[in-house]
Symmetry: C2
Subunit: 196 residues, 2 copies
């Protein structure tokens, strides 16, 4: 039987890209992140924080370990926030092309990626939540092959004009919503561990 690593935090997710992005942040701070690749109950909400918190609590309850859960979405201004919390389903069905089509001839291409990282220390514990946001715009064509989801059409404001999908994982982690939320969590977590 394997002994679980001490102080390991588990990421409940079935998205390997998400895990690898998060793990890079954790490793940079000397922390381990273990992938808990299970199907956890997910609620419908227009609030990413609620979705992430519910799933973190659910997983901590069912697997008895400290869990983080991350929920993210692309919110396009001219589409009233669509695809938002349902970005993953929109990606699987209409894809990047669908978003480009909905924005054909639309001048306002402003969009933001948002991420909510919820942490639940164990069963019957209250979850905490950390959010990250990256402003940017929707490109006029798909560009790049790194990352996942809507990365090929999102150009972060803080970058050099490349889409997320044109960046390596390390570059994306400099600007991304997910990296910002993960770093907030890691900072809090290290402080909490130190004061124990």
């Amino acid at each position: 039987m394997m002994t679980p690593p001490k102080r390991a935090v588990y990421l409940v997710s079935r998205n390997i890209h998400k895990y690898l992005e998060a793990r890079q942040i954790f490793l940079a701070h000397g922390l381990n992140l273990v992938l808990l690749r299970v199907k956890a109950l997910e609620i419908q909400s227009e609030n990413l924080e609620d979705i992430a918190k519910f799933r973190a609590s659910y997983a901590a309850e069912n697997w008895g370990v400290p869990v983080i859960s991350e929920d993210a979405g692309l919110f396009v201004d001219a589409l009233n926030g669509f695809p938002g919390p349902y970005s993953s389903y929109a990606y699987k069905t209409i894809g990047c092309r669908g978003i480009l089509r909905l924005l054909e001839g639309v001048e306002n291409r402003r969009a933001r990626f948002r991420s909510a990282v919820a942490y639940c220390p164990g069963p019957n514990k209250q979850p905490l939540c950390f959010v990250g946001e990256t402003l940017g715009r929707i490109s006029t064509e798909e560009r790049g092959s790194h990352g996942f989801g809507f990365d090929p059409i999102f150009i972060p404001e803080e970058g050099d004009g490349r889409t997320f999908a044109e960046m390596t994982r390390g570059e994306k982690n400099r600007y991304s919503h997910r990296a910002k939320a993960m770093r907030k969590f890691v900072k809090w977590y290290l402080g909490a561990v130190r004061s124990e």
Copy 2:
């Protein structure tokens, strides 16, 4: 204090149109349907039945009454089933226009409306589920002002070429996915009550 009506079934929903459509079917069979207009926890799933069953159980648990919950979605073939279980969010953000835009120049306009009606008799009881489906196509423009959601762009195969939004509630109830699922439930329910 008001006495609750005997044998009343409660529909947990915040959509008054949905309630009025369902109520018409119930009344036609001599049954009463009460609107339970509360916010009930909703799960994310690509399976309407799971969403409806979870919400019916949740509401029966929390309000202690026999509850039905209905979840519906428009599944467009050429869009890989989009907007599907997230139709309500897609309607609020990109609307009928968004769907028409995604289908501009697309020849295959085949679509189906699906409905899942879940019934939970009370706390700690297992929910049952009844489904209804209506095949049709997406119109090339919005037509009509009745109904709600994507009704102005859906033309049922069984009809006369009008969209759901060009029909009265009674006409829509002849063809609609929701009416089919509700009638299945009512038929089962009347049998169950009789055999008590």
